[in-house]
């Protein structure tokens, strides 16, 4: 019997959060592969917000990615010493790419990112702060393909 997924709430942290699985197509240098890889990366980010588990995210994320660093620092801080985060789940309602490869071998993938607002819960169960719902964002992932897998190089925001 599979354990039942239960999202975090004010009474406790999330339970049995499914670990994202990289689909086979995400290992191919195709348009579908680039889209599947970008989708997977956000699933991993979402998983990290829910669980505080960062190892998978950090393997896939370049240290030069500043917004990634900012998020991982907050996740680490709020998933330690008995604290936890509620919310933070990320959905990507639209993922698309022109699948145009530049001279440096980079592709760009545009992603609509929706995140459930975070609540920051202290070890005693009191809620320290709850974020407001932010508008969905447009993010741009810079990725390349090498050695049978996609690699993330940078994440930026689409501002117009």
């Amino acid at each position: 019997m599979t354990a039942v997924y239960k999202p975090a709430d004010a009474t406790g942290r999330a339970q049995n959060v499914p670990v994202p699985v990289l689909p086979e197509v995400a290992k191919t240098e195709t348009k579908e592969g680039a889209v599947a890889f970008a989708t997977y990366w956000f699933q991993v980010l979402s998983y990290s917000y829910e669980t505080g588990e960062l190892s998978l995210l950090e393997i896939m994320t370049p240290p030069s990615c500043e917004p990634c660093l900012k998020s991982t620092q907050a996740i680490r801080a709020w998933h330690s010493e008995g604290r936890w985060l509620v919310g933070g789940q990320i959905k990507t309602p639209a993922v698309e790419t022109t699948f145009a490869k530049d001279e440096a071998g980079m592709y760009k993938v545009a992603v609509q990112v929706h995140q459930v607002p975070l609540s920051y819960v202290r070890a005693d169960g009191t809620i320290a702060h709850t974020d407001a719902q932010a508008a969905d964002q447009g993010n741009l992932l810079i990725v390349s393909y090498g050695a049978h897998s996609w690699v993330l190089h940078d994440v930026g925001s689409i501002v117009g």
């Binding site: 995140q115 702060h129 689409i158």
Partner: protein, 294 residues
């Protein structure tokens, strides 16, 4: 650029920082914009004005489409009777989507808020069409001009000019809707009155302590000739507008506003050296009662 979000009230000093939500900074240098000609995303040019990254759309509250309404939702229907012109309005819920992702779907943004028109969507389009003109006709204060030194300065010396323009908010009524406008100064053009124009550029300058008057600053000017000049500051403002407390929407163009001319007199200074003081030589130049030479 980093934005620091101040902690909420009641925050414990033991708490780690908040603000952990996923957010590639929209203020970062070189966000991406879609270039339709290149058919590619390109880095935004440095110093380019930031557009609102979102598109917005209002939907009637509780509307399920095709004339169907959610009956449970209607129990919480926002009361929009008796608007600014005494007209009844319609409650709308706002949706947004990031403009840079062509296939993005609408996601609930905010609301419900009221729109006061028989065709709420049309009235928004009409407000959008008029907002630029409305913006340019607002009594926006371009900022007072301050000169150091003033009202007199010396020929050839660096005279420091600065302005004190600030964000301004206005409430106006357009087509029977309450429209709230926030105007933020973004660029400044200095016309020093002697034929020199500096700008538009992003610095409004700043005050210098008196012991540093005469230093060159980003907005200082040295007059080559003596005389009386009128200094005119023109400030460019960027704005957002919000209809009946809806989401703030960007006003597409900037508005130009000029401050009242500030007069300045440019004098010359002449140094003469004298062997005597006025006790020894009461008729000497510069002594009391002695006409100054031209």
């Amino acid at each position: 650029m980093t934005l620091f979000v101040s902690p909420a009230q009641g925050a414990d000093s033991q708490d780690p920082e908040f603000g952990g939500a996923w957010k590639p900074d929209t203020l970062q240098v070189g966000g991406w914009i879609w270039d339709g000609v290149a058919n590619d995303f390109v880095r935004q040019a440095p110093g380019a004005t930031n557009l609102d990254p979102n598109l917005y759309n209002p939907e009637l509250q509780c509307h399920l489409g095709g004339g169907e309404f959610d009956s449970v939702c209607l129990g919480d229907f926002l009361d929009c009777r008796n608007g600014p012109d005494g007209k009844d309005g319609y409650p709308v819920v706002w949706y947004s989507k990031p403009r840079g992702v062509p296939s993005a779907v609408w996601a609930r943004h905010s609301g419900p808020t009221c729109l006061y028109d028989e065709k709420p969507v049309d009235v928004l389009a009409r407000i959008a069409a008029q907002i630029q003109q409305q913006f340019e006709s607002l009594p926006i204060n371009a900022g007072a001009v301050v000169a150091q030194p003033s009202p007199n300065t010396l020929r050839g010396a660096e005279t420091n000019f600065y302005a004190d323009a600030s964000e301004q908010q206005f409430d106006v009524t357009m087509l029977g809707q309450k429209v709230h406008v926030v105007a933020t100064p973004v660029q400044y053009t200095w016309n020093y009155g002697d034929g020199t124009v500096f700008g538009p550029q992003p610095s409004m300058g700043g005050p210098l302590p008196q012991d540093r008057w005469g230093e060159k600053t980003r907005t200082s000017h040295a007059y080559a000739d003596t005389g009386d000049f009128q200094v005119v500051l023109t400030s460019s403002f960027q704005g957002t507008y919000s209809v009946n407390n809806g989401p703030p929407l960007p006003i597409p163009g900037q508005g130009q506003f000029s401050a009242p001319p500030a007069p300045i007199s440019v004098w010359r200074s002449i140094t003469r050296n004298y062997a005597d003081d006025c006790n020894q030589n009461p008729q000497g130049q510069g002594c009391p009662g002695v006409a100054s030479p031209r």
